[in-house]
């Protein structure tokens, strides 16, 4: 697996990592809970047919401490919009997972002309009292993996320090990603995204891992019912919350087919 090209853009003085790979029309991807500590097979699959562009979210791996200047929901949404533009993704197709899926949905709702087609994998942002999401910020160290992936080993391997990694800084960076997600979604994951879903006009694919233990798969239908544009729902068997890690080939194929 050959790695991506790595560039850096500036956000409020913080360096933001941007990965890109492949050729064809651009396709952006915003990472989910915990971010992308390393390049993954899912992105390679996307890069086989598209020019994949992956800017880091503030505070996520590659996103430095940019979350520390974001105090409100508006701050976050504006930050993601600016980062997408700076990464050259204005008017492009956009996919996002979990935390990144929620932010992709916000951008699509508030700036409907800023993207073409949308794919969301189990986005955060809703809260149903009768069927609440799990609390990803109150987990024992050994229980988070099973909350995020159907196969906990997938999550552990994703976050294991690579050879030569700084043994002190690496785990701090992983913790920072979880803090950053808390900064926008704590304590319930509820940003009242459902109020803005009707503003989304882009054709939207909603993907959900069948074994999502973080956000119940029933949330897909709740979201779909509010979406303002054409949409489809797909359930991914054998996948947990971060379905793109559990089933990279299947999720990538659905995303690529949807984008056309």
């Amino acid at each position: 697996m050959q790695g991506p090209e790595v560039t850096t853009l500036d956000f409020e003085g913080f360096p933001i990592r941007v990965w890109s790979k492949g050729s064809g029309p651009p396709l952006g991807f915003l990472a989910g809970f915990g971010g992308l500590p390393r390049w993954v097979p899912f992105l390679d699959r996307l890069a086989e047919r598209r020019h994949v562009v992956v800017p880091s979210l503030p505070g996520f791996p590659g996103g430095d401490r940019a979350h520390t200047v974001l105090d409100t929901h508006l701050d976050w949404v504006l930050a993601v919009r600016r980062i997408l533009q700076a990464a050259g993704l204005q008017g492009a197709d956009l996919a996002g997972s979990s935390v990144g899926g929620s932010l992709a949905a916000e951008v699509a709702a508030i700036w409907p002309d800023s993207l073409r087609r949308l794919a969301l994998i189990a986005p955060f942002g809703l809260y149903d009292e009768a069927d609440p999401p799990a609390d990803p910020w109150a987990q024992r160290p050994d229980s988070l993996a099973a909350l995020m992936c159907a196969d906990p080993e997938t999550w552990k391997a994703l976050r294991a320090p690579p050879e030569g990694a700084n043994g002190v800084e690496w785990p701090i960076e992983q913790t920072r990603a979880i803090e950053a997600s808390a900064r926008i979604f704590f304590p319930l994951g509820n940003t009242r995204l459902e109020k803005r879903l009707p503003l989304i006009k882009a054709p939207t694919l909603l993907l959900w891992g069948e074994a999502d233990r973080a956000i119940p798969p029933a949330y897909a239908a709740r979201m779909a019912a509010k979406l303002g544009g054409p949409h489809e729902m797909v359930t991914i068997p054998g996948a947990g919350h971060l379905a793109e890690f559990d089933q990279p080939d299947m999720v990538a194929r659905h995303v690529l087919d949807w984008m056309g």
Binding site: T175, E179, A182
Partner: protein, 423 residues
């Protein structure tokens, strides 16, 4: 050395099988375990005990704030302190403290602490903890990523509310108020002494040094386990060019005194095991949310873990999670200072030598001790140990102690004489 008497106010009737059947004493402890009528008696016993400690001559009485907590029944320590202010006359009252980020707006703390300082005639020590993750992030839903910034901003607002003479507007990142002008204003000027209870965070040490506040390490695991943290504190003070005045620091210690060591073991084993095995049974999922510890602190902790295979705290945590411990463990590890008056004196002198702390917050009620045993422990210490510790650190000035009003200026609350309904 100042000897202070600290009450945690634990619920004293958690079931025998609590550790096995319930995940946590904190955050999601089940409401069915709480009997309000039993708690009525507990609260009143606890306040009797605090007042008794004042009568016995302790330098101060201390209360603190916890939420959704089976070992700390004081969501509002200010309510308890207010009652104590009326039933005591001379003793400083240490509220350790109010978790600033939990109050909206934080001027509430400036107001209530000013009320306490005025009612008590200037006897208040104002504690400002960040608060534990269990209290702040989980029980009170505060964002772990902004908690410390909110805390620091709230501190600035409270100080300004106490000291600014004119009505002012506060334009903070997290708090905006057009008209800040608290009434009443504190007796102690410019404000009551400020003490900061904290864990082993480098930023907290630096901030205490910068602001000239007392740093209090409120571990329940005693002076042996606390040495590494206090060594870190004093090393940081030295690095910052601060003197080694022991009154810069406070430390909490469980203490149990009787006629002999054997008698002490007989009397205090059950409450000690109740305290360490039931009261401190905390689900680790609430203990370390991402963002609560600063990255500098993580860096320091991780590096020392890399350097040392295991530090004292992780050993303790390992034990705490894996099994209940016995009295012998608590004694061997110094969690509890226990024995005859001579033996207790020797251990506290060792504590004072090792940690160099001028403010010792004694925990003489712990676990499910009843009032009689608590008062026995308190009196034994006051009569047979305390007099022999008074001269410790006599060469140092305690610049962080309350400056109350003169007795001649102070009010005399009416004597308490409950009237029976039949009268």
């Amino acid at each position: 050395m100042k000897l202070m008497w600290f009450h945690l106010m634990p619920y004293t009737e958690l079931p025998e099988n609590f550790r096995q059947e319930h995940p946590s004493v904190w955050v999601d402890i089940h409401s069915s375990l709480f009997d309000p009528k039993r708690a009525h008696l507990m609260y009143n016993d606890f306040m009797d005990e605090l007042e008794y400690a004042a009568d016995c001559g302790f330098d101060a009485i201390c209360v603190n704030e916890h939420h959704s907590n089976g070992y700390g029944l004081m969501p509002s320590p200010n309510l308890i302190a207010s009652a104590l202010a009326r039933r005591t006359t001379q003793v400083p009252i240490c509220v350790l403290g109010n978790s600033l980020a939990l109050y909206n707006p934080p001027t509430r703390v400036a107001e209530e602490f000013a009320m306490l300082d005025v009612i008590s005639g200037g006897r208040l020590i104002a504690g400002f903890p960040v608060g534990t993750p269990m209290d702040t992030v989980f029980a009170y839903g505060q964002n772990p990523s902004t908690l410390r910034e909110k805390y620091l901003e709230a501190h600035d607002l409270v100080i300004k509310a106490w000291t600014e003479k004119e009505t002012f507007a506060f334009n903070g990142r997290f708090n905006q108020q057009r008209y800040v002008n608290i009434w009443p204003r504190p007796v102690q000027q410019p404000h009551p002494p400020i003490w900061i209870p904290g864990g082993g965070s480098i930023e907290t040490w630096q901030w205490c040094a910068q602001m000239d506040y007392v740093y209090c390490y409120l571990s329940y695991y005693g002076y042996k386990a606390g040495k590494a943290t206090m060594d870190g504190f004093w090393a940081e003070m030295a690095r910052l060019g601060k003197d080694r005045n022991p009154y810069r620091a406070g430390f909490a210690q469980v203490i149990a005194v009787a006629e002999s060591r054997q008698q002490a073991m007989d009397l205090y084993t059950e409450p000690a095991e109740y305290f360490f095995n039931r009261c401190l049974h905390i689900d680790p999922r609430f203990a370390a949310p991402a963002g609560y510890s600063t990255e500098a602190t993580q860096r320091a902790g991780l590096e020392s873990m890399v350097k040392k295979a295991a530090n004292a705290q992780s050993l303790i945590m390992g034990d705490k999670m894996n099994r209940g411990m016995t009295m012998q463990d608590f004694v061997d590890r110094g969690y509890i200072v226990i024995g005859s008056p001579d033996e207790v004196l020797e251990q506290i002198n060792a504590l004072a030598d090792d940690l160099h702390v001028g403010h010792l917050m004694t925990l003489m009620h712990f676990g499910n001790m009843d009032k009689a045993l608590t008062q026995y422990n308190t009196r034994m210490f006051a009569e047979h140990v305390m007099p022999r510790l008074k001269d410790r650190f006599a060469d140092y000035e305690d610049r962080w102690w309350p400056q109350p009003m003169q007795p001649a200026e102070s009010a005399t609350p009416a004597a308490f004489a409950p009237k029976l309904a039949a009268e």
